[in-house]
Symmetry: none
Subunit: 209 residues, 4 copies
């Protein structure tokens, strides 16, 4: 009787094992942070022995960096660049998308912020990865702003961008803490409007000069 070649099956299992490990690690890490994530805990959650985790990942650092990487990918897929003529509408659109993405896959930002807040001496790759991903987002948003309001000084662009991004972080945290008591959608709506208004008024000032 014809049998499915063993190698085939095994390779497929390999993929699946990797996925199971990442799922478990994401769970644990976003629950307890970097130090709180022990290989033993991940092993128990995914059902594979600790040594198998080391077959798929070099070390703990590598594992958590992979978690960040994958969850950022998932997250990105949920956010697309909106188009249209009306800047206010487009910003509002963007805000909604980000809010919804955060509600659906909060792991990325939660774990990222946890890592970002730590200041330990040794390098943690997952932290570096998060920060660079975040930097990239920052740059793109700055570019969009420049396009919308060409009169704005670089200083104003940077200020506005930083405000836009980091206040959003704060709103996300509020939702994480407050749970159902917090209406993240409404907060992001407000945030989008405020940033837009700020951009308009700063642009006015610049143009008047």
């Amino acid at each position: 009787m014809a049998e499915i070649p063993t190698t085939r099956r095994r390779r497929a299992n390999g993929e699946e094992s990797r996925r199971k490990i990442l799922d478990a690690a994401a769970d644990v890490a976003s629950e307890r942070g970097y130090d709180g994530t022990s290989i033993a805990l991940v092993s128990k959650k995914c059902g594979l022995p600790a040594s198998s985790i080391y077959w798929h990942f070099k070390d703990k650092d590598d594992l958590i960096a992979a978690v960040i990487e994958r969850s950022f990918g998932t997250w990105l897929e949920a956010v697309s660049v909106p188009d249209g003529d009306n800047p206010r509408t487009r910003i509002a659109d963007m805000s909604m998308q980000i809010a919804r993405a955060l509600l659906e896959t909060p792991d990325f930002l939660r774990l990222g912020l946890m890592l970002a807040l730590e200041r330990r001496p040794e390098e943690v790759r997952a932290r570096t990865m998060f920060l660079s991903v975040r930097d990239e987002a920052h740059r793109r948003i700055a570019a969009t702003m420049r396009e919308f309001a060409p009169d704005l000084s670089e200083r104003s662009i940077k200020l506005l961008t930083t405000y836009a991004v980091s206040a959003a972080d704060g709103l996300f945290i509020a939702k994480e803490i407050g749970g159902d008591d917090v209406d993240l959608i409404a907060l992001f709506e407000l945030h989008g409007n405020l940033v837009y208004d700020a951009a308009v008024s700063l642009a006015q000032v610049a143009a008047d000069r």
Copy 2:
């Protein structure tokens, strides 16, 4: 002149030891978070043996909760309620104070946010303490807003307050991450203005109804 004998320093001095331990723990905890804070590290930093830490604090949880408690106290002292007639000025004043307090004693918020982001199943007393302290701040700000803009609906008050508090958290994080690249004072100035404008425009809508 009679000199205080050296042995004196070696003598039991509960108050001072407790202080030294708290200092060390605050340092370590705001650098590495809850799990990253090992008693051995704190012991090394404060010069007292680990067992002495357990004389002053029930356990690690108790120690870190005490760190949060004390650092909140320090922080509060730095923020006083401003007075004056012009609401915009008063809000701007408040913003500056908070920004400066965050620059001077960032430990409280950094550790607090790290704890807040975790969602481990067991209770962490320091986390609970941070959240209750934060709740209190929230309530006070809401009260001030009600005073300024009596026409605002409770829903709007809550939305604005949450926005004001949590965006500030985000700005703080941006400063923590970005270091000298980030101008926290400017960010808080912008934030104060935006919240004020938002309050005014929401109040307008309410009054028009």
Copy 3:
């Protein structure tokens, strides 16, 4: 106004403190054995700081030896040598007394047996004390037997005495384990009769020779 001299009061408190410590130590030790009895536990149970325990007792060994000593005293008071002509009645009497004493103050034998079963290399004073107290009891019972049955060989005396004493230990343990399911009084009644019968029949054999 006349005041009770301080020294007086203090000395009285000293006695009481010692008593409180011994009470607590007896409790803990008969619950958890020698190693399981920590000074901290005793301190918590009696309300005095650990250092106060060391004022009253040289060290842990000394404390537990004192516990054994005191509880043996209490125990002895409950057992008096019965008199009368009929040997069977006297033995039955004795049995009942011992059974009742064990029901009322079981700490002595429980802790004693726990200590006796251990075979650690270093000497434990409480163990030695228990064993010597037990030896003394053994000798007295042997003397009584010799009086009752002068014909018995020394070997028989020893065998019977050992049987009488150690089976009683076993019955006590059965009660400790079985609680209300075990009727210690009935067991001791049976035991008394069996030992008496054994003595009689061994004496018969000896006389016949």
Copy 4:
């Protein structure tokens, strides 16, 4: 002749390691009891690091429970049910077997009794295991008694069984304490006869009614 390479011995060998750990733990535990058995001591005795002990056993409780379980197995093998027509002979036979088993493998009962005497609030699995094993033995002996003396009331059966088992415990302890001074075989011979006589005389009383 090809030699087994030395490295072989260093290779992982779960079964043997487990056995070595159990051997060491049995040694230590029957010498010092539950609390006195430290993992470090067991580790030193078996040559494996403490962390390896935790690979084979969940925790100390689990380890000591396993010791009890295994030593009971060994013990059981040494005691077989004797047959024959004469009840007195059969009981005497049984007594001898038990006495000899206790002399050869005393660990089981020594550790078991140590655990049984403790009354700590938290559950100790090894204790529970010992007690259940002991219960089973009790039930079997009661069944045998019922067969021998069908006229005996249940109360008498229970009394006799408890006496038979628990006095035996006591004799064992006497041997543990007294060492070579105590003739365990003679004590068990006497014990067997006394229990037999008691059964006969109680059965007589029952039949007369």
